[in-house]
Amino acid sequence: MELKDLYRDVILDHNRQPRNFGRLDPADATADGHNPLCGDRLSLSLRLSGDTITDIRFEGKGCAISTASASLMSEAVKGRDRRAVHQLFTQVHALLTQPEAPVTDSLGKLAALSGVREFPSRVKCASLCWHTLNAALDEGGTISTEAGNESSSEGTR
């Protein structure tokens, strides 16, 4: 477990200067993501031409991993259609969760997230934006990394 693998220069750079940060108004699709365990919040807004994402913005507060992941995702999905986004999501999900998943060229800069899988407690930080994008492309709304009743209390003191 090496910190350098998690906090690579690309990650730190995208955390410091997130790309496509902000909100599109009007937007063709929006969704909010929430990770109640660490308080991360993310709002995505998209412009679509048919099935293709022509523009994307995100805003919110989060840790370096969630901010950099959203920034990298926004660059990666621009110009892709739903099917291509879905394929990319499947690849990223494997990258984040499967120790043996290959880091393929098709991932581009997203490969910088490969260190996350060594830190199981941080996988949700990196995947929050992708789940939120899925929600935006489906019907919008709010997703949470912790499915459940809003009023429930979780965790320890």
Binding site: M1, L3, L6, Y7, L12, L37, C38, G39, D40, R41, K61, G62, C63, A64, I65, F119, S121, R122, C125, S151, S152, S153, E154, G155, T156, R157
Partner: protein, 417 residues
């Protein structure tokens, strides 16, 4: 049943190295570094005396309690009821009828909410809490509010994390039916003036519940001296096992309250027409209880008292002062919770580094801290932050560990450039 802990004090000094040897887990490494455990406010570690007491019970004395005439059942009952008497002495309660074993502070508060709250509250009635409560002292009252139509009133805190007493007095009205407050804030470390709060509430004949989860490891609690009507705490924050906790309740109140869970052990006689409930405290202990947990808790109390709560508190205060100085000198670090009277908790945020990232970097250095909202989201909202990092100190932490924390935080700043 209770094991005898080693005396930790040598001469007049507090020998922390000797205390550390009582806690086997403290000798392990994490990611190749010595463990620096600064998350005792979430759960403290157990001394050998507790581990052995539980092992001894499980190995030699276990059977179901309050039932069999056979030897093991009698031994188990003696161990369990002995633990209850140990807790009674620890809290200076009048009678063991006032000591109810629960799963922990959360269940203790839910018991009062469901039994006392649902039976006695209705529209127009108010429950008064404070803005620094843990979710466990908020959500049970919201459930009661939703079930009965009563209201939940919240006394505000100031920017240092202290309860604003003038506001508390103003919000304590003829409509107030119960006051429920933390003794020590888990997110901020604030020690609340509970004696003053209880006096003010009692002047209006309002009963008071104290959430003592964060107080019991650090301060002597005398429920009679305080005048608390209910006092709740957890075993695992006071060097005992998880899954065991205590609700102290004044006998007159407990006697007048209906049971909240039904089942075995809480009854005297059951027919399909009618059930007669058992006497206190069994009326509130349905089902087979956590005997090994109770035995472990009794051993933890023995351990705590052998070290001396005052000696532990003085040691922790030294650590807290050193941490305030060490962390205060780190540029970009802001302490969250700067009350005049604090116990053992150091919450902070660092400019440009999210608490979650801090937690990961500190973990890589072997330093365990809690990051997140600490089950106190309203506190985070009040300070306008999503989360904090929190270091909390216990009897086994050292000044060297405070410096290791500070060094790890500087390392985090290096990583983030």
């Amino acid at each position: 049943m209770s094991a005898t802990p080693l005396r930790a004090a040598t001469g007049s000094g507090y020998d922390v190295e000797r205390v550390r040897r009582d806690f086997p887990i403290l000798s392990r490494t994490v990611h190749g570094k010595p463990l620096v455990y600064l998350d005792s406010a979430a759960s403290s570690q157990r001394p050998l005396a507790v581990i052995r007491a539980v092992d001894d019970y499980e190995s030699h004395s276990h059977a179901n309690v309050h039932r069999g005439v056979h030897a093991l059942s009698q031994e188990a009952t003696a161990a369990y009821e002995g633990a209850r008497e140990r807790v009674r002495r620890f809290l200076n309660a009048r009678s063991t009828r006032e000591i109810i074993f629960t799963r922990g502070t959360t269940e203790s508060i839910n018991l009062v909410a469901q039994s006392f709250g649902r039976a006695r509250l209705g529209p127009g009635d108010e429950i008064l809490i404070t803005a620094l409560e843990h979710h466990a002292n908020i959500v049970p009252w919201q459930l009661v509010r939703d079930a009965t139509g009563c209201s939940l009133v919240v006394a505000p805190i100031d920017r240092s994390g202290e309860l604003i007493m003038e506001e508390f007095h103003r919000l304590l009205t003829p409509r107030t039916r119960l006051v429920a407050v933390a003794h020590v804030s888990n997110a901020l470390g604030t020690i609340l003036p509970v004696a003053q709060i209880i006096a003010a509430a009692h002047a209006r004949r309002v009963p008071v519940l104290i959430d003592g989860a964060q107080a019991v490891p650090h301060t002597r609690v005398d429920v009679q001296g305080l005048g608390a009507d209910f006092y709740a705490f957890s075993g695992h924050k006071v060097y005992g096992p998880t899954g065991i906790g205590v609700l102290y309740g004044r006998e007159e109140l407990l006697a007048s309250m209906p049971p909240w869970q039904g089942g075995g052990d809480m009854i005297l006689n059951v027919t399909f027409e009618r059930t007669t409930y058992n006497e206190l405290p069994y009326k509130f202990e349905a089902g087979t209880p956590n005997m090994s947990g109770a035995v472990g808790l009794a051993a933890a109390i023995d351990y705590l008292e052998a070290l001396g709560i005052e000696a532990i508190a003085a040691h922790e205060h030294t650590l807290l002062e050193a941490a305030s100085a060490a962390l205060g000198s780190i540029p970009g670090l802001t302490l969250i919770g700067t009350a005049r009277h604090k116990a053992s908790v150091m919450s902070f945020v660092m400019q440009g580094i999210h608490p979650h990232d801090l937690g990961t970097i500190l973990d890589a250095e072997g330093v365990a801290v809690r990051t997140g909202h600490h089950c106190a989201q309203p506190v985070m909202d009040f300070f306008g932050i999503p989360a904090t990092a929190r270091a909390s100190f216990a009897c086994y932490n050292t000044l060297a560990e405070v410096q290791q924390l500070a060094a790890a935080l500087r390392r985090a700043q290096e990583v983030f450039g």
